[in-house]
C-alpha cells in the first residue's frame, strides 16, 4: 500500500479549514490532489476542521462524486441519462465491458481504465455520451467506443 503524502493537503487546509461550510470544497480539492479520498486524508481533515471523521465519511459517501479507492488513469463516466438510454447507452456499456473486461465501479488490472455509470452529463443531443476524465465523447457507436479506448491505450504506452 502506498503511503499518502499528507503535506500536499496543507495548502487546502490552511485556506479552508476554518471557513464554515467548506467541507465539501475541502473533499473536492483533496480528491483533485490524490484522485480519491484516502483514509489518512480524512483523519487529517477531521483533526484540522474539528468535524468528526464519521461525519466526514457521512458526507463523502452521500455524494457520488467522491471515491475512496484510487481510479485508473482514465476514468470512463458513461452517461445514464434519459436521452442516452433512449439512444441505446446500454449497447455502449456492453461494448466497454467486453473490451476492458470490467463492470461498473471496477478498474482494469493494469490500472489504466476505471468505469463508472453516472447520471446525466447534460450533453443529451449527442447521446449516447461518455466522459473520460475531462473530455466528452458523443454520438457513440460500439465501433467508435472501441476506437477511443484503443487510442487512449496506445497513447499511454
Amino acid at each position: 500500500m502506498q503511503t499518502v503524502d499528507l503535506s500536499l493537503l496543507s495548502g487546502v487546509l490552511d485556506k479552508y479549514a476554518s471557513i464554515k461550510g467548506s467541507l465539501i470544497t475541502i473533499l473536492q480539492k483533496t480528491q483533485d490532489i490524490y484522485g480519491y479520498l484516502p483514509k489518512e486524508a480524512i483523519e487529517l481533515i477531521s483533526e484540522k476542521t474539528g468535524i468528526a471523521a464519521s461525519e466526514i465519511m457521512g458526507v463523502g459517501t452521500f455524494y457520488t462524486q467522491f471515491r475512496f479507492e484510487p481510479v485508473g488513469k482514465y476514468l470512463i463516466m458513461l452517461c445514464q441519462g434519459t436521452a442516452c438510454h433512449v439512444n441505446s447507452s446500454q449497447l455502449i456499456l456492453q461494448t466497454i465491458k467486453d473490451e476492458l473486461g470490467i463492470d461498473d465501479g471496477e478498474a482494469t488490472d493494469d490500472g489504466l481504465f476505471s468505469l463508472k455509470c453516472v447520471a446525466c452529463l447534460g450533453c443529451c443531443s449527442l447521446s449516447p455520451v461518455m466522459m473520460i476524465n475531462e473530455d466528452t465523447y458523443g454520438s457513440l457507436t460500439p465501433d467508435k467506443t472501441k476506437k477511443i479506448l484503443k487510442e487512449l491505450r496506445e497513447a499511454a504506452e
Binding site: Q28, A83, H85, V86, A119, C120, C123, C124, L126
Partner: protein
C-alpha cells in the same frame, strides 16, 4: 471578417476545439478568430459563423479538414468553396422559429469576454435597477411580467423575492440553483457556458430586490466548463467593479461566490441545496419554515433556477408588460426546452408559452428520426411524465401540462418512438430516483425501492395479476407521505405510463410480451432462413456461441443459450435477423 466557432460542451464533444485549432493553425489573414458558446443547434455541431460586417454565413458540421476551404472563402469571398457547409434554409428554421430571451446571446457572443456582453447591452438592466428603481419597483416589474420559476415548480418569482424582502434581518442570501440534475436537461448548462454574465446580472438584480449582500451559485460538479466560464465571468465582473461595494456608485453592495455540487440529484431541491452549501449531506428540511424566512445559515434566502434569472435583465430593460404579452393567461413569457431522443433536430428550443408540443417536436424539431411513429414525449425528468401521441396538441402551459399528469418541469423533452418500452421507461426513472433518494423519509426510501422491484419483475416477465393496482396504490401513498419534491414526484412516471400505456403493462404481465421489443427477457432473436447467406458473421460475433450453421447455409440461434445482447442483429448485413 470575423470567424466565430461555437465552443459549448456539446460542440467540443463533437470536435469544435479541433476545428478551432485547425483554423488558428491555418493562419488565415484578414479574419479574427473568436469563440462563442452554444447556440443550441446541437445536432449540427461543430458550427462556425463567419461575419462579413453584419452579414452572417453559418457553416455546420464543420471538420478540421474544412479549414482550407474556409481560408479560401475568406481570401476570395467566393462561397462556392464552402457551399456544402452552409446551413440549409430548413435547418435555419430551427432557430428562426424560436423566440429567444433567456438564450438571446447564447452562441453569439464570446462568453469569456465581458466586453462582448457589455457591447451587446449587458449590465444596463442592473444599472437601471440600482440607480433608477427601488427594490420594490424591481419586484413590481417582475410581478407584472408574470415570471414563474423555470426550474419546474412554476412558482411566481415576485412572490418569493417579496417574501425574502419582507423577512427581517440584514444578512440575506440570493442563491442560484444551477444543479440541473434532470436527465435530459441541459438548458442551464448552455446559459452558464454561453452567457454567464446574463446570469450574474439577473442574480445581482435579484439580490438588490431582496436586500441581500451575498450572491451564491450552486453548480453541479458534472459541468466543469460551465464552472470554469462562470468563475472567469465573476473575476471579470469583479475587476470591472460590477460585483463590488456600491455597485455603479449606488448604496447596493454584493459579493459573489460559486460552489460546486458533488453529484446528488436531491440537491436540486432547495432545502437540500442549502444543506449541501453548508457542507452537510444534502437531505431536505421540512417546510415551513421556508428559505425566505430561514435558509442558508438560517438567514432569509431566495433560491431561483438559472433560467429564471436569465430572463430578469430582459424584463427590467423591456418592462414586465412586454414579457407578459407573450404566453398564456397562466404562463407568461418564454420557456427553454432541451429536445432530445428520437427527434431529427436535437437541441435547445426557446418559444413563447402557448405554443403546442407539436410545434416543438414537429415544426421546430423536424419530426421523428428514421420515419418512425411518434409514441410519447417525456417531460419533466424523473418528476414528470410521459405524454402520449394523442395529446401532441397540448398547449405549453403549466396548467395544461399538469392536467395530462406530466409537468412542465425544467425543460427536458425526450421524444420516443415505437421502439421505446413505456414500462421500461418507468423502470428507468425509478432506478434513478431510488438511487438518488436521500433516505430520510420512509415513503421515498422504501417506496421507490418497492416500485423499482415491481417494475423490474414486470419487465423480466415475472409480473402478477394485481401488480398494476398495487403499483397505483403505492404511488399515491408515496405522493402523500414523502418529505420533499423528489419523493412526491417519483411516482409520476409510473402513474402516467399506467394511465396512457396500460396495455403495455398488461402485455408484460399477462402475455409475458414486450410490445416495443425492448425488454430483453421478453424478446427473442430469430434468423430468417430465406434471407440468411450463411456468411457466419453473426456466429463469430456471438459472445456465447449460440449460433450454429456452416458457411453458405442458413444459420440458427439456440434460444436456450442466447443472452439477447443483439450483437448478431447489429452485425448482419442482410437484415436476416429479427427481434420477435
Amino acid at each position: 471578417m470575423k470567424i466565430v466557432i461555437g465552443q459549448g460542451s456539446c460542440g467540443i464533444a463533437a470536435g469544435a476545439e479541433k476545428v478551432r485549432n485547425a483554423l488558428i493553425n491555418y493562419d488565415i489573414k484578414d479574419a479574427d478568430i473568436t469563440i462563442a458558446g452554444c447556440i443550441g443547434m446541437c445536432y449540427l455541431e461543430p458550427i462556425v459563423d463567419i461575419y462579413d460586417g453584419s452579414e452572417l454565413t453559418r457553416l455546420v458540421k464543420v471538420n478540421p479538414d474544412d479549414a482550407e476551404k474556409i481560408a479560401q472563402y475568406i481570401n476570395t469571398k467566393d462561397k462556392a468553396y464552402i457551399e456544402n457547409l452552409i446551413v440549409s434554409d430548413e435547418d435555419s428554421e430551427f432557430l428562426s422559429k424560436q423566440t429567444r430571451i433567456a438564450l438571446k446571446r447564447c452562441g453569439i457572443i464570446n462568453p469569456e469576454e465581458i466586453e462582448d456582453y457589455i457591447e451587446a447591452g449587458g449590465y444596463t438592466a442592473l444599472k437601471k435597477a440600482v440607480l433608477e428603481m427601488t427594490p420594490e419597483d424591481v419586484i413590481e416589474t417582475i410581478k407584472a411580467s408574470g415570471l414563474a420559476g423555470r426550474g419546474g415548480a412554476g412558482f411566481p418569482t415576485w412572490f418569493k423575492w417579496n417574501a425574502a424582502r419582507q423577512s427581517e434581518g440584514d444578512e440575506k442570501y440570493l442563491i442560484c440553483n444551477a444543479d440541473e440534475g434532470d436527465p435530459g436537461a441541459f438548458m442551464d448548462r448552455a446559459v452558464i457556458e454561453s452567457d454567464p454574465h446574463n446570469l450574474i446580472e439577473g442574480m445581482l438584480i435579484g439580490a438588490y430586490a431582496i436586500g441581500a449582500k451575498h450572491a451564491v451559485v450552486y453548480v453541479r460538479a458534472e459541468y466543469p466548463l460551465a464552472i470554469k466560464r462562470l468563475k472567469r465571468a465573476i473575476e471579470q465582473a469583479t475587476e470591472k467593479g460590477i460585483i463590488a461595494n456600491h455597485i455603479f456608485g449606488s448604496a447596493f453592495s454584493c459579493d459573489f461566490t460559486i460552489k460546486a455540487g458533488a453529484g446528488a440529484f436531491v440537491c436540486g431541491e432547495e432545502t437540500a441545496l442549502i444543506e449541501s452549501l453548508e457542507g452537510h449531506r444534502g437531505m431536505p428540511r421540512l417546510k415551513p419554515p421556508f428559505p425566505a424566512q430561514s435558509g442558508f445559515w438560517k438567514k432569509p434566502s431566495n433560491i431561483n433556477n438559472v433560467e429564471t434569472f436569465a430572463n430578469v435583465s430582459w424584463i427590467i430593460n423591456n418592462g414586465g408588460e412586454a414579457f407578459a404579452a407573450m404566453g398564456t393567461e397562466g404562463s407568461k413569457g418564454t420557456k427553454v426546452f432541451a429536445v432530445t431522443g428520437k427527434v431529427k433536430r436535437s437541441g435547445l428550443v426557446e418559444i413563447p408559452m402557448g405554443k403546442t408540443l407539436r410545434n416543438v417536436i414537429f415544426d421546430i424539431g423536424g419530426g421523428m428520426k428514421n420515419n418512425k411513429e411518434f409514441k410519447a414525449v417525456q417531460m419533466g425528468g424523473p418528476s414528470g411524465g410521459c405524454i402520449p401521441a394523442e395529446l401532441i396538441d397540448t398547449v405549453i402551459d403549466y396548467k395544461a401540462l399538469g392536467a395530462t399528469g406530466a409537468i412542465m418541469g425544467s425543460g427536458g423533452m425526450v421524444v420516443m418512438d415505437e421502439s421505446t418500452c413505456m414500462v421500461g421507461m418507468a423502470k428507468f426513472f425509478l432506478d434513478f430516483t431510488a438511487k438518488e433518494s436521500c433516505g430520510k423519509c420512509i415513503h421515498c426510501r422504501i417506496g421507490t425501492k418497492r416500485m423499482l422491484e415491481m417494475l423490474t419483475r414486470i419487465t423480466e416477465g415475472n409480473g402478477k395479476d394485481g401488480d398494476i393496482e398495487l403499483l397505483e396504490e403505492l404511488c399515491y401513498s408515496i405522493k402523500d407521505g414523502a418529505l420533499c419534491g423528489l419523493g412526491q414526484t417519483a411516482p409520476n412516471p409510473v402513474l402516467t405510463t399506467i394511465k396512457y400505456f396500460r396495455n403495455e403493462y398488461e402485455a408484460h404481465i399477462k402475455e409475458k410480451k414486450c410490445p416495443a421489443g425492448e425488454c430483453t427477457n421478453l424478446i427473442a432473436y430469430r434468423i430468417i432462413e430465406d434471407k440468411c447467406k450463411g456468411c457466419t458473421l453473426c456466429a463469430r460475433n456471438c459472445p456465447v456461441n449460440a449460433i450454429s450453421g456452416s458457411v453458405k447455409t442458413p444459420h440458427k440461434i439456440d434460444s436456450e443459450k442466447c443472452i439477447k445482447c443483439g450483437k448478431c442483429c447489429a452485425s448482419c448485413r442482410f437484415d436476416a435477423i429479427i427481434k420477435a
